[in-house]
Amino acid sequence: MSHAQQLTSRIRSIEPVGEYFHIVFEAPTIAEFVEPGHFVAVAVGGVGSGMLLRRAFSIHNATAGDSIEVIVAAHGQGTQWLTAVSAGTEVDIIAPLGKPFLLPTRPVGCVLVAGGYGAAPMGLLARELRDRGCEVEVILGAATQSRLFGVLELTRDADNVTVTTDDGTSGLRGRVTDALPDALARINGQAVYACGPMPMLKAVAEVSKAHGAFSQCAVEESMACGIGVCMTCVLPVVGDDGVTRMVRSCVEGPCFRGDRVRWDDVNTVPVDAFGAPVQGGH
C-alpha cells in the first residue's frame, strides 16, 4: 500500500474539455507514487465552507516531481465550486488513494472500457500496459459526443479506439458492451479494465466473464472519508473464501475484480453476507 499524502496544492490550470474540466494540481511529492486507478480526494469550498467532505476523482495523469491531473464533471455544489475557482487557488488534496488496477504480469491483450469521465484513468493505464508489452484496445462510450472524454489521447496511447454514443452523435450508436466482444476477439483479450457508471460496470463484468476474460472494474461509491475509516462506501464483494462481505471501496477498491462484485446486490446487504441480520433479530 502506498502512503497517502495530505498537501496544500496550487491549482496550476483549469481548462474545459467538452462538458468536463481538466484540472492540474501541483503535487511534486505525490505524483511519483501514482498508479493507474488511484484517486485523489480534494477539499472544496474554501474559507467558511459548509461542505465538509472531500470530492474523489480518478487520477488522470501524474508527472513525477511535478503534478497530478483530473477530469471533473461539474455536478453538485462541490464540483461547481472546484470548476469555478481560478488557477492559482490553493486546495487541500490527499493522494494517492485506493487500490489501483491489478496489472497483468505477462503481456496479454487488454481491453479498456470507459463511460464518460470514466475515461479519466485510462490513458495512464494504457501507457502502463503498453510499457509491459500488452496490446491495448479501448472502448469509449457516452450518452452524447460532448460527454466523451479522451478520444484523442487514447488514440495515441492505445492500439485501437472504438467510440460509442447512446445517441449516435459520435462513433457507433449504442453501448460500450456492444463493442466489447469484437474488441476482445481482435486482440485475443485476456483482461478487461472498466470505469464508469455501475450499470455499465455490471454489463462489462458479465460480457467479460462470458468471453473468459478477467475483468477489473473501478467503482464509484459515495464516500465520506476516502481513507477507510467511516464505512460509508461499502458494497458486497465475494472474497477468496467464497464469503460475501460489505467491503470498503475506498481502500479495498475502487478497483475490484468484476466477477467478485455482486452487482445486483449493490445498495443492499445480501442475506448471506458476513454479519447480515438474521431472522428474529441480531
Binding site: 495530505q6 465538509l52 464505512m231 445498495n267
Partner: protein
C-alpha cells in the same frame, strides 16, 4: 509550547486532550498515515458488537450543510476479530485506547464488558447506548433513563477493571441532564456526548429517503451548538463528573468551547473525514489558543465558562 495539555477522564490519564470519535477513525490504523496515533489523547474505537455485523444498506451517507448524515448501522467484525486484529495493533503501538461497545440488548453489553475486562491495554470503555442507526428507535437506550441505567448497571457489575466507564449520550432527548443523572447513578465514571441527532434527507428524484436506512445520524459542525449546550448543562448539574465532549469540533477554538463548557477532553469525529490530520492539528491549535489567552494548563480551563 508551554501549555500543559494533559488531562484525564476519571482514572484515565491522557497526554493530549484530543481523541478520535467512535466510528470516525475505525480502530486507528488507517490514521497512522497522517500522524503518530500513539501521540493522540486516545483512539476511541468504532463501537464493537458481540457478533460480526454487516450494517445497513447503502447509500449510507449524505452531505448536509456543515454536516453529514450517516446510517452505517454499526458495521463491524465482532468482538473476537476486534481483539485479535484491532486491539492488538493498538496495544502493540502503545495507543491509549478507549473501546466503544454496543449491544442489541442489555445482556449483550454485559457480555462485552465481561469479555473485555481482563484484556490488557484498554484505557477506558465507552458504552454506546445512543446509536440512532439501529433498526428500531426503541433500541436507543439513551433515550430513556431507565433503560440507560440498566445498561450501565449491567456493565458496571461486570467491569472489574479500574479503567473508567463512559456512557455515550444522545442529544435526542427532552432532558439530557436527567439521562446523565441516571447513568451516573448507575455507576458511569463519566459521560461522552453527544452522539448524532436523528435526521433525514429526501432524494426528491427517487421520491424516497436518501439513505438506505431511511433516517441517519446528523454530525459535524452543524450540531456543535447543541453539543456545547449539552456539555454545559451536564457539567452544571454534575461538576465532578468527567465529560468527553464531541460534536462538530473543527478547530482548536471549537475544542476550547467544549473545554470551557465543562469537557475534560474532546473527540474529533466527522471533521476527520475531511481532514485526517485534524486530531493532531486541533491539539496544537488548542495549545495555541490557551497560550494566547495566558493559561498554562488545560485543566484550569475545564468548566471555566460557568464561573462568569
Amino acid at each position: 509550547m508551554s501549555v500543559d495539555l494533559s488531562t484525564s477522564l476519571g482514572s484515565l490519564h491522557l497526554k493530549s486532550p484530543t481523541a478520535t470519535a467512535s466510528g470516525c477513525a475505525a480502530a486507528g490504523r488507517e490514521l497512522a498515515q497522517f500522524g503518530d496515533v500513539a501521540t493522540l489523547g486516545a483512539v476511541v474505537t468504532k463501537s464493537i458488537m458481540l457478533k460480526p455485523r454487516s450494517g445497513r444498506p447503502t447509500p449510507r451517507m449524505a452531505e448536509t450543510p456543515s454536516g453529514m448524515l450517516n446510517s452505517i448501522g454499526l458495521q463491524g467484525p465482532g468482538i473476537d476479530s476486534f481483539l485479535d486484529k484491532d486491539l492488538s495493533w493498538l496495544t502493540s503501538n502503545n495507543v491509549t485506547t478507549i473501546v466503544s461497545i454496543a449491544g442489541n440488548n442489555v445482556a449483550e453489553f454485559g457480555q462485552l464488558a465481561r469479555i473485555l475486562r481482563d484484556v490488557p491495554g484498554i484505557g477506558g470503555l465507552e458504552v454506546n447506548i445512543s446509536c440512532p442507526n439501529v433498526e428500531s428507535r426503541g433500541q436507543v437506550f439513551a433515550c430513556n433513563p431507565v433503560s440507560a441505567s440498566e445498561v450501565i448497571d449491567t456493565v458496571r457489575a461486570e467491569w472489574t477493571s479500574t479503567a473508567p466507564i463512559l456512557a455515550k449520550l444522545s442529544p435526542d432527548v427532552t432532558d439530557i441532564v436527567e439521562i446523565a443523572g441516571s447513568v451516573i447513578n448507575a455507576g458511569a465514571d463519566g459521560v461522552s456526548m453527544i452522539n448524532t441527532l436523528l435526521g433525514m434527507v429526501i432524494d426528491v428524484d427517487a421520491m424516497k429517503p436518501m439513505l438506505g436506512g431511511r433516517t441517519g445520524g446528523l454530525s459535524g459542525p452543524a450540531i456543535r451548538p447543541v453539543a456545547v449546550r449539552a456539555v454545559y448543562q451536564v457539567h452544571a448539574a454534575f461538576p465532578e463528573v468527567p465529560i468527553l465532549g464531541m460534536g462538530g469540533i473543527r478547530t482548536g477554538h471549537d475544542a476550547l468551547e467544549f473545554i470551557a463548557a465543562g469537557a475534560s477532553a474532546v473527540s474529533i469525529g466527522t471533521v476527520v473525514f475531511g481532514d485526517p490530520g485534524a486530531p493532531w492539528r486541533i491539539a496544537t491549535e488548542l495549545g495555541n489558543e490557551l497560550e494566547q489567552r495566558g493559561y498554562s494548563s488545560l485543566r484550569e480551563v475545564v468548566g471555566l465558562a460557568h464561573k462568569n
